[in-house]
């Protein structure tokens, strides 16, 4: 057995260039496969980790996914508001522990402006219940104060105490339609990196959000009516369909009378479903309450076609890699005819020859899988800081999981079958050909 191993290794070493090329080609396909898998996993984690410890998201009656997208990922904008009465109704339910309202729709250099209450930072968690932490400063306490996400702080070079001017409306370049120079905000807090959309958000009080709109005149403060879209006469706003809640003035301060929605925590998680039903069937505003976990699941279901396509492509690449191995071994088998004859003549039995050929193939497969996996993990490890910064998602590199081992085992199996099949061809030829010298 040792002799066979030595022979196989010598033979591989002798053909080291094709050997290395074969290993590279297998490892590239494996690396791609593993990479796609890891990225998919990480994206899933990053998305799934964007909201935690919130039992219900409540908003105007739209769709589950659109409510999830705008409330958590700040994608799209609400077409309606819900009244504060809805918030009061929800807060009055005995099972409810807390409610935190939010209003969305404004932008600041590509970041979204979220109007909310200080309790938001207490209750809204991310990634398995992690609380947001301030890398600097503290929560806002007045209507001209703002807390900013880490990404905003970095990109806009904002530090504690800096003044910032928020805009009305969300645009690509983030500058909005009109700047509200009259109401600058002071940065009181900078949040640490979370790897979620929080990093790209600016948080202000609901009243502060109202201040942004105070100067716009006709449509601000909004009437306390969530079907007021027809009341818009500014064509720009008409097209944009954004709502940031509505406000009424009290002693010179703006008090929100409607909001985009609210987050809700139940005293007992088990009550979430009941609460969801209660809110969905309330005969006040047309409300939609969703369970974040389930909504996330639905979102994934929608994205799974893309995911499946990715997996399929990377799987095909692996198959191509294995086919390449098969072809190169197959071609090689012709060239090795003479070597086999010599080995047979000096007394190597069929088992020896077959073990040697198959052993070489298995070495190539193991080498390819090993190098590919190593390169991918190493690469991800090196690139992680860059990816996290660039896409502001957390990119955890999970350890070797059971599915990884399963996958490696399957690859190994497929590779070995390809290698052994190709070797079997040389083996059969070696047995059949006898001693005849054939070129």
């Amino acid at each position: 057995m040792k002799q066979i191993m030595i022979l196989a290794i010598r033979s591989l070493w002798h053909r080291r260039i094709p050997t290395v090329l074969t290993i590279i080609s297998i490892s590239m396909s494996v690396a791609l496969f593993v990479g796609v898998d890891k990225i998919r996993e990480a994206t899933r984690d990053a998305f799934g980790g964007a909201i935690s410890k919130v039992d219900l998201i409540v908003g105007p009656r739209t769709g589950t996914i659109s409510l999830l997208l705008f409330s958590v990922f700040h994608v799209g904008s609400p077409t309606h508001n819900i009244t504060l009465k809805a918030l009061e109704f929800a807060a009055a339910q005995p099972e409810v522990a807390w409610v935190v309202p939010f209003s969305l729709g404004d932008g600041f250099h590509g970041a979204s402006v979220v109007g909310t209450t200080p309790e938001f930072f207490e209750h809204y968690k991310y990634r398995d219940g992690t609380s947001m932490v301030y890398s600097l400063g503290h929560v806002f306490s007045g209507d001209s104060e703002a807390v900013i996400g880490s990404d905003v702080a970095e990109k806009q070079h904002l530090a504690l105490g800096d003044k910032m001017v928020l805009s009305h409306g969300h645009t690509e370049d983030g500058d909005g339609f009109e700047k509200h120079e009259d109401h600058p905000f002071t940065v009181t807090g900078v949040l640490a990196v979370t790897g979620t959309p929080i990093d790209k958000s600016v948080f202000v009080t609901l009243g502060g959000l109202g201040e942004i709109h105070r100067e716009i005149g006709a449509d601000t403060p909004h009437a306390d009516d969530h079907h007021e879209d027809s009341g818009h006469d500014d064509p720009q706003h008409e097209g944009e369909h954004h709502e940031q809640g509505s406000f009424r003035e009290e002693n010179g301060k703006l008090i929100a009378t409607s909001v985009s929605g609210f987050f809700l925590g139940a005293k007992n998680r088990m009550d979430s479903l009941n609460l969801q039903r209660t809110l969905n069937t309330w005969d006040g505003d047309a409300l939609l309450a969703i369970l974040p976990g389930m909504a996330m699941g639905e979102l994934w279901k929608n994205l799974s076609i893309f995911e499946t396509a990715m997996s399929l492509i990377s799987f095909c690449v692996v198959v191509a890699g294995m086919l390449g191995l098969f072809v190169s071994l197959y071609i090689l088998s012709g060239q090795r005819q003479r070597e086999m004859t010599v080995l047979r003549a000096v007394g190597a039995g069929p088992v020896t020859i077959f073990t040697m050929l198959a052993g070489e193939a298995v070495c190539l497969v193991i080498g390819g899988i090993g190098v590919g996996t190593g390169v991918m993990y190493g690469g991800l490890y090196l690139l992680r800081p860059w990816i996290e910064k660039k896409f502001s998602i957390s990119f955890p590199i999970s350890g070797v999981s059971r599915s990884d081992i399963m996958f490696a085992a399957i690859l190994l199996g497929v590779g070995c079958v390809a290698g052994v099949l190709a070797s079997f061809n040389s083996y059969r030829a070696a047995m059949r050909e006898g001693l005849a010298t054939r070129f």
Binding site: S11, G347, A348
Partner: protein
């Protein structure tokens, strides 16, 4: 005791192809040097393969050094070949990824025992290579050797461990006349020392007188092969 005895041996490669060999009787005495010749395609190489136990006859019996090859198990046959039969081919005798020494000692890895008087296979390899005039090549790569040098290394491999029979399939067809004579001399001298028989196949009838006996395959094989006149003179070998 005969070194080699064939009785009623019939062989065809597959059911679809015609019979290649049908040999009522053939024998080689111990220590005898036999020159075997015959036209191309007549089955000389096939016969050597049968004697080496690479495949079995469809019927009949092959006895090598008193042991019936067809009655051995597969493993025993492979071991027997490693121990008792030294092969030399026309070209490509050597495993290209092994050193000269590893090529010579290769049969010992599959069961051939080192000759009496030598402690290790490497020692005997060195001795044989020196006798064959290529002692200085022992550490070299096969690819750095000339064809004549390769043939001597192959001869050393065939001779190591003093196998009972040396089987040579046109080993000299790639050598020039001088190298051929030298090669035969050392081969014979070593075989004589070890008491090995030689079954030597060649198209070059000029070498026949140096052997104890000349044997035409057609004289022992009852299958008629078409008498094809080779287009290329056999000196250059059997390029099919």
């Amino acid at each position: 005791m005969d070194a080699l005895l064939l009785k009623g041996v019939e062989f065809r490669y597959s059911a679809k192809t015609p019979r290649v060999l049908s040999i009522p009787v053939m024998s080689v005495a111990a220590g005898e040097k036999v020159f075997l010749f015959g036209p191309s395609g007549s089955g000389k190489t096939t016969l050597l393969g049968l004697i080496g136990g690479l495949f079995l006859p469809n019927s009949g019996e092959i006895t090598v050094l008193g042991q019936s090859i067809s009655q051995m198990s597969h493993g025993a046959r492979d071991r027997f070949r490693a121990q008792e039969i030294g092969f030399i081919f026309q070209v490509f005798n050597l495993v290209s990824y092994l050193s000269v020494q590893d090529n010579v000692t290769l049969p010992c890895k599959f069961g051939r025992r080192v000759s009496a008087g030598f402690a290790t296979a490497a020692e005997e390899a060195q001795f044989l290579l020196e006798k064959l005039g290529v002692g200085e090549l022992v550490g070299k790569n096969i690819s750095d050797l000339s064809i004549g040098q390769q043939q001597r290394v192959a001869a050393a491999r065939a001779l190591i461990g003093s196998p009972g029979i040396i089987i040579a399939d046109e080993p000299t067809s790639a050598l020039d006349e001088e190298a051929r004579a030298g090669f035969l001399n050392v081969l014979f001298a070593q075989a004589k020392r070890e008491g090995s028989s030689i079954l030597f196949v060649s198209h070059d009838r000029g070498m026949a007188p140096q052997f104890d006996r000349s044997l035409a395959l057609s004289s022992i094989n009852t299958v008629n092969t078409p008498q094809t006149t080779p287009l290329i003179t056999p000196l250059t070998g059997e390029f099919k």
